[in-house]
């Protein structure tokens, strides 16, 4: 038993091995140890959603996961998902709708929106609001964010 733990995990497709302090949460690990600054530290107790990242394909609160617990896990951040082009349309719609104001919540909003559209390709506005309810935008730009997600859902469905 130790306050330092060795972990090997995959971050955005790259294998990473580090020794981490046991109390280090995933977002500090990503930002401070790996230099991936896209995942934001907000409230650090699971309320705001700014730290939303994916572990093994599902979204989680990065601040409520210990890096030490992630040996063997597959982590994806906004950097990886952006580089893969997976949410290009969502990002374009956020720009077009001015859905990113200060931008602090944006990475978490995008990953949460992508998660919604994956499980529910035709969400109503109420369902979009419900799924994004755990992500705070302190600029209060919710209307534009919901618009952007709705626009992308419609465009994806038109293509499908």
């Amino acid at each position: 038993m130790s306050t330092e733990v060795a972990v090997t995990l995959t971050v955005n497709g790259e294998r990473v091995s580090r020794r981490v302090e046991a109390r280090r949460h995933l977002i500090d690990f990503l930002r401070l140890d790996l230099g991936l600054m896209g995942s934001h530290t907000g409230c650090e107790h699971g309320i705001c959603g700014a730290c939303t990242v994916r572990i093994d394909g599902t979204i989680v609160r990065g601040c409520l996961v210990l890096a030490a617990s992630l040996d063997g896990a597959r982590v994806e951040t906004i950097e990886g998902v952006s580089d893969a082009g997976e949410i290009r349309d969502l990002q374009d719609a956020f720009v077009a709708r001015n859905a990113a104001q200060c931008g602090y919540c944006t990475p978490g909003m995008l990953l949460t929106a992508a998660d919604l559209l994956q499980s529910n390709p035709r969400p109503t506005r109420a369902e979009i609001r419900e799924h994004l309810a755990g992500n705070y935008c302190r600029c209060t730009g919710y209307h534009a964010i919901v618009d952007a997600v709705e626009t992308v859902a419609q465009k994806r469905n038109a293509k499908a």
């Binding site: 038993m1 302090e21 650090e44 699971g46 959603g49 609160r61 210990l66």
Partner: protein, 291 residues
């Protein structure tokens, strides 16, 4: 804030977990999904010497049918609980409760056992367990105990678990024919803990209720069984009159504490409203007549 320093170790099996826990001593805590624990550590409300990670213990995983019960491993996440076919078919109250629990990102990580062991009086699953007459399977290094949910929650964030005892699973009786259930809550924002909530279950024939169970949450230090309200509607048709009688009975038996959401009077009002809605929903009557 950042958590105070602690040691970390991951258990590979239940036996391993008990051995590590015993070695680490009483200042150590178990880490399952971490969705309440890690927030508490960030606030330094708790400063354990060590965390023993039980999230990969195979004996705590999975949902299975065991005779007339559905056995849910303590390590099952809320998300897994809500989408599992056995749960949706045989314990629909649980499937209905899951969307009310926090947010998707938290449901992907938080566990059934963690929620019950944490025993937040405003949480949905403890109330569901009591409403469903679930049995909590507690394990220590030496023995297994079966604790009825109604006796499991002993106070504010307090349970019947002994020192160095953990929740291994929860067994939910399969819903019988004619049985209906509903969970309703009022929260300021979707995903917040409830200001008041109710998990209700009854056998329904026509619109008459038999053996109703009305378990309120966020109105006491633990899930609160509204026995007088249940007695007021037991064996009766759900009508405007029986709803009013049940609401009056409820008023006499709830003693909610004031909290950040409001006064005892407000909580009593919310509980009355929820009771009316729940009875009508269970009886298959739409909202119009609800208080």
């Amino acid at each position: 804030m950042k958590a105070a320093p602690f040691s970390y170790v991951r258990a590979a099996s239940l036996a391993d977990a008990f051995r590590l826990w015993s070695d680490a001593g009483p200042e150590a805590k178990l880490l399952a999904g971490g969705q309440s624990l890690l927030a508490a550590l960030a606030f330094r409300l708790s400063e354990p010497s060590a965390l023993i990670d039980i999230s990969r213990v195979p004996e705590l995983a999975g949902i299975t049918q065991a005779g007339a019960a559905i056995r849910v491993g303590a390590g099952v996440t809320h998300a897994e609980l809500g989408r599992h076919e056995l749960v949706r078919r045989h314990v629909p109250l649980l499937a209905d409760a899951v969307p009310l629990i926090a947010h998707a990102a938290i449901r992907n990580r938080g566990t059934v056992g963690g929620s019950l062991a944490f025993a937040d009086p405003a949480a949905e699953l403890p109330a569901c367990c009591v409403a469903l007459d679930a049995v909590v399977i507690a394990r220590s290094a030496e023995a297994e105990r079966r604790i009825p949910a109604a006796r499991f929650f002993t106070g504010l964030y307090a349970t019947a678990l002994a020192s160095q005892e953990l929740i291994a699973a929860v067994e939910f009786p399969v819903a019988r024919g004619g049985e209906r259930s509903v969970i309703l809550e009022l929260a300021r924002r979707s995903g917040d803990y409830a200001m008041a909530g109710v998990a209700a279950r009854a056998k329904v024939s026509g619109s008459a209720l038999a053996d109703p169970r009305l378990i309120f949450f966020a109105v006491g230090d633990r899930p609160v069984a509204a026995q007088r309200a249940a007695a007021a509607v037991s064996g009766k048709q759900v009508t405007a009159e029986t709803v009013v009688a049940a609401q009056a009975a409820l008023d006499g038996e709830l003693d909610p504490p004031a909290d950040q959401h409001g006064s005892p009077q407000m909580k009593r009002h919310l509980a009355r409203v929820l009771l009316g809605r729940a009875l009508n929903r269970i009886a298959g009557i739409e909202e119009a007549r609800a208080a």
